[in-house]
Symmetry: D2
Subunit: 470 residues, 4 copies
């Protein structure tokens, strides 16, 4: 309501009461103004009322909501179902234009503002996490497809290149993003350092020499990963890339939440990092479907955004915007702190549980999110290992993975892998992984340890039982 409205209100309700209501409105208003001015995550999170107010203001600015609009185009953001309309706060035009995904739309000032602000807030979130990136944009695709977009964009600058050097990380979508983009995958097998599986820098150097730097599109490293693999040695890879003039692309899937990962990227940026990609769902607790493409070179990031053909769903941006406004910078930092503390608790508890059952927690100090517990006593009995996994699944433990050391061969996108899932051909013993990700609660840890303990006890018993039988 504007001041005319408030004056009219004063004819119905005493002025001093209206004045207080109006003052309250100013508080919401000034939060919005501050956001538009600073384009940063507010220190203190917004309440849902302010968030909805703001989204409604944006929706009003889109042409499909103009009371007097008449549409004679092929795309007018008409929404058939009111259920659908409501869930998008009446926003229908998506983000971007055929021009590029970060372009504004004449028909949709509100959606354009939403897109621009979300990108700014995402950049701020990266900075809060420890990466002083200079530019980023949110794209409504998960990390796999986003990496593909980055690779294709780089291709335009390196038309001759066809190889992607890839320190092995056993995750299908990453492999697919390379193969689907039309590049040849050059696997750099990891080296075992203590319990950790880590980057084979020597092998990278050798491959570069073998293939020729100019034929290599990029080195694609990974931060966040399942233990006992640890984040790649980004600084050293960055050095190599810098010296050989090879782009360095980082798959930072769920690494934003972990200072170990963000620190690595920040350090590597001093040598060479071209672009790093992270998921919105895994780092910011929104539904699956978005990722942030970021870097330290504005022009490169802009180039990638311009390679995106056409407009796109605004849904992941909307989710991220709401979430960051709702968390506030302080809330986000608290979540990061809590995650770190959960990580330590999980480590302690899992270690205790392992010892009780004659196993050990693998020493993987470079991995700040995932950890692994050996399953040595299951070594002779692969069936039991798989069985353990499904027992945990049935007991509603989600997210844990049981890795047998079976040496099985798999074909992934035409490439043969031994022991796919283990990040190396032969790790030596089976193990089980667990992760302390953002949003985990201490209840999660309690339930997990209790259930794991029960299942291990049962497994051991049934193993003994089956030994007796045989």
């Amino acid at each position: 309501m504007d001041s005319d409205c408030y004056s009219l209100c004063e004819k119905l309700v005493p002025k001093s009461y209206i004045q207080q209501g109006r003052n309250a409105r100013t508080v919401h208003q000034s939060k919005i103004r501050h956001l538009l001015e600073q384009r940063r995550i507010p220190d203190e999170g917004w309440c849902d009322q302010t968030i909805e107010l703001f989204l409604n203001e944006l929706a009003i600015m889109d042409s499909n909501n103009f009371p007097d609009n008449c549409g004679v185009g092929e795309r007018e953001a008409r929404i058939f179902s009111s259920l659908v309309s409501r869930r998008h706060f009446r926003l229908g035009h998506g983000i971007g234009r055929s021009g590029e995904i970060t372009a504004v739309q004449p028909k949709a000032a509100g959606s354009s503002l939403l897109m621009t602000l979300t990108n700014s807030l995402a950049l701020h979130a990266l900075k809060l996490s420890g990466i002083q990136a200079s530019s980023c944009f949110v794209v409504p695709m998960a990390t796999g497809m986003s990496i593909a977009l980055c690779l294709l964009s780089l291709k335009q600058k390196r038309p001759k290149a066809k190889y992607v050097l890839w320190p092995r990380i056993d995750q299908k979508s990453c492999i697919k993003s390379i193969v689907t983009s039309g590049f040849e995958l050059v696997i750099i097998e990891n080296v075992k350092e203590g319990h950790e599986l880590s980057t084979n820098l020597e092998e990278i150097r050798t491959k570069i020499q073998d293939l020729g730097a100019s034929n290599i599109l990029c080195v694609l490293t990974t931060t966040s990963c399942f233990a006992p693999r640890v984040p790649d040695k980004l600084e050293e890879v960055g050095e190599i890339c810098k010296s050989q003039d090879i782009p360095h692309v980082i798959n930072n899937a769920y690494g934003v939440q972990c200072s170990k990962c963000t620190h690595l990227i920040q350090q590597a940026s001093r040598s060479r990092v071209d672009v790093f990609i992270q998921s919105t769902d895994k780092n910011f607790m929104v539904p699956v479907g978005g990722s942030i493409i970021a870097g330290f070179d504005d022009q490169l990031i802009q180039h990638i955004s311009k390679c995106y053909p056409g407009r796109a769903s605004s849904s992941p941006s909307t989710d991220l915007l709401i979430t960051l406004l709702s968390m506030g910078a302080q809330g986000y930092k608290d979540l990061l702190k809590e995650r770190k503390s959960n990580y330590k608790t999980l480590q302690t508890r899992l270690s205790e549980c392992a010892q009780k059952h004659g196993e050990q927690l693998l020493a993987t100090p470079h991995n700040g999110i995932s950890m692994a517990m050996s399953l040595s006593t299951f070594q002779c009995n692969e069936e039991s290992v798989t069985d353990l996994g499904s027992k945990l699944f049935t007991r509603l433990v989600s997210g844990t993975r049981v890795i047998p050391s079976d040496g099985k061969k798999s074909d992934i996108c035409g490439q043969t892998f031994t022991s796919f899932g283990a990040h190396c051909d032969a790790y030596g013993s089976p193990y089980l992984t667990a992760a302390a990700a953002i949003g985990m609660t201490s209840r999660d840890i309690d339930l997990f340890i209790t259930r794991l303990d029960k299942v291990l006890t049962k497994c051991v018993k049934s193993k003994e039982a089956s030994q007796v039988k045989s």
Copy 2:
């Protein structure tokens, strides 16, 4: 509630009343069962109550909503904001797996069902529109990025191929999808037939001979387009593709709504159509962000879905599912009929308006969605043409386009175009386009004609006025 619950209810409220309530529940239930059984759009649209009931049932089946779940993975679909959670009906896991976008997720039976059903319903919708496709899937990307995915997938089957033959259609995202995918754009300039701009079949044949069929990734044709361009001659192109063994990809962006376009695809399928891509927003009145990738060969479509790296947002699928359930087959067919009738009305009214102002409606009988009105009297005065466009924009006419005949050169993705937007280098006269798209109302037509008439009257006057001055 199950029968135990209902028995308990009967202790509180007379049995006969409970029985009626229970019967009502059975009606909803049997709609859902019928959907799961038939996997087709229900004849009669569902009310929102049944739709929400069904979505809630799906959400309950996803692990992030399990009351006793404990999550120790890196991706547990935890949702921070309840605003976000509600707008996704508590679904957070997205669709697909790293395996492929049409794969089911162990953690998310509900989301997996949603994905599978939406794909089935989308196929049914295509069939209702006149295309007897055998397979399709919904992907949370707009048409541009989806075309790119298709091209990249074809590349794996034709590793040598590097050219895309492309009958000119002046739309940036389409060009980008080719260039970003790393292919070379081979422009086939259109021929003018009467007022229509149409496919130059001769030039296609020549280019194939020049470049060599095996070097050509595909011919990328277009159906829906702005008049005076008309849908490509799909049957004839299909024949050429068949005889030369070249894939035929069709950009059917908003063509599902128009029987002229769907008929062409259906006919072409008898010779050769590999894959055709359409937007969900433009054809089914959902927000921007999804498209349907479809074809007549199950294996090829499955191959494309397997090339998609990783999981993806379920938001566009959710929107489409809700919308198709809400429309019902009958409602959808009614919308198609209404569109056709609106097209005729718009044609008549625009023609009358054109004549009043000394112009004419261009004769483009092959284009069933878009039409164009000449602006010959503006020919000498390019400024006025542009001015006309912005005058209409200011008067809240959205979607109309004013095309000057300026012969201006533009650089689009490294390619030089003359008169970009006109689909040809020199059409002869400026014109204005308007379209009768699905969901248009007769009010849209009324307002458009009224405002156009006013603006034209004013333009003419100011033209005369400015002539007087000079």
Copy 3:
């Protein structure tokens, strides 16, 4: 957003696009301003977007939503559940004060505005319906309790009075409202005029003479009722009340929707009408729970509102406000027209059906909502009549009533009635009623006639069958 915000937006998105968005906002704004200025139902209904915008503006003005509020009272409108909060648009303070139900609350400027505006719009709705009332207020109680409040309020002005003269209308809540308020019910039995049951004016005059005018609290007449009873002769009763100085209270439960009823009230106001009460749910298609207390004398209506002890739920007011804004004056008038037309259709169809089965539609021209069809062939067989009713209920016909002519005695609030439900001791034959109320659709009529026809056919058959048997 204010102009500062928009200026900031212009740094992110081109000014001309922002300008259009801002203009759109002005449209909503000016609707709100117009409402505050005119305090009438807008001619054209508002879209949900404007309605929600307005309700959110109101909610912001209530102290429970003040971002910096601190509450140290016993009633701070803290809302525990966000589900509850959302469904009330975050309004929690209710309406009224201990002072009176139409008083404004210092803590709740928004809720106070909501209450005031709803009362104004309700008055406008009455006027549109044909009653030029001068004052009214919405109370969150159904008609029964509201009539009780009115009677108790009148009592304060007529401390000696203890009788309520009541032309018989067989509806329990009306009787209860009199008895619960502590008054003595003086039943005026109806007279049969043709098929109609109507007001016995002579009996009223006699009773007044017998009891003494000053001992009579009021005559409580009724408009809307089930045929064959017809609205009371309000004008004539008004004349009597005027001449004897007895208050005239009218139970206009669902009569607002029917010009026959509203015309009677308007005419009676020229002689004497003190207060008339109507339900919000039955007349305006909102959930059960509110009524409008209205009259032609501001002071009396204000007196009643001041008798209401304390504050009250704002829920019925919120529902009515949303609904009237959403309908618009035009939409409301269309609904009234449609109802009238449905009434005629139902009359024709029911008459045809009656004739087919050897029955007739009773001639009750003074009742514009309800109609009755004789069930003479069932006369000898009361069981069948009841059976007919339950058969219709099972076939999902709701709202029809089957009245046997059984002469059964019932005790209602200590009063003995013969044939309760029939409005008279002995009507002569059983009958079935049906009503054409606001919001009825032609589908309702079709289904009703089809089902009734089936049931009657079956009943006749089973009657014949049972005759054969016996």
Copy 4:
């Protein structure tokens, strides 16, 4: 979904995943079954998902939502606005029948269940709070109107009675409830015991003797009140009522939250308590508009419910049901504990603040919710006292009251009161009250003390300043 549906699902998604989803559904289901079986507040609160699931199940059972219903009645719960429909979870029929407010409706099995369950849960809540009542029902009216209903109901059993004995409590709605019901108010002035204002038992006994027990409708006592008044001596009043056979009605407005009040009622029930009334909003953190009418004699409570004329809004019941399910018994008990602890904190902090400014906290140990701080230094200057109140209001302190000792006469419902608001004619000094009500947070206390301190400091200064001036 039923087992047929799940079997069909298993054709689309592997059986083991569907099985898990189905198990999850069982968890929700069994919560609902448990509720229907026990009709008690669940120990652990339900999540919103289960609550919405349950409400949707109820809504399905109401005839207005029957897919095949045809309505030919005058009240079919048709809801015009989808905004309104959604906010009521599609429930429209309200609660009760013309029969009585606790009767079930044939047309609305769902709403009837909702009503019945809410009443059971409300009874459980009273028991958890310490009152072993045997019967209660929720009525959609605030306490004032509910007390009126109780008085009128009692009247039917004591037709001769016309006086209500009323230990003075300066709250308008309570006075109105007596006067509007047509009774004569007999004020029992409080006695000052220390700082406390308490029940004058002697005066009650005298008045009974003067007026005659059979002429007295009831004694209407109060529990929750602003300090320095304290809850009435219920046990002693109960004894008097028992011995004189006079009904005892207790206004327990916001006393459910305080064990001091509930204990008094429980104790008094051993002598005589007929009915006690409490607000839902003040005790259970729902919006204003409902109250619970409760007692220890089932028949009396049923009698009152039968006196309610007609049906009523289900909105307050819905709010209470959602809230109690969401809190759970444990959550509710935690809130009670937290309130008690807040009370102590507020006491300490306010006492400190008082001392700093040369004032004191009044000693009112019998009042467990409200407390008062003297404003003796303001005694000579009534203007300042009022000024203090408005200063606090402007600083967003809501709920505090400043009571001058002005001896002003007021007319309330025809009765003259001296110093209305102070519960006695002359308390001696002005004071300020504050309350620790359920849902208060420690932030509320902090802000309040800070702001009060500032305002007192300022007031003193301006007082000194004005003294200097004069």
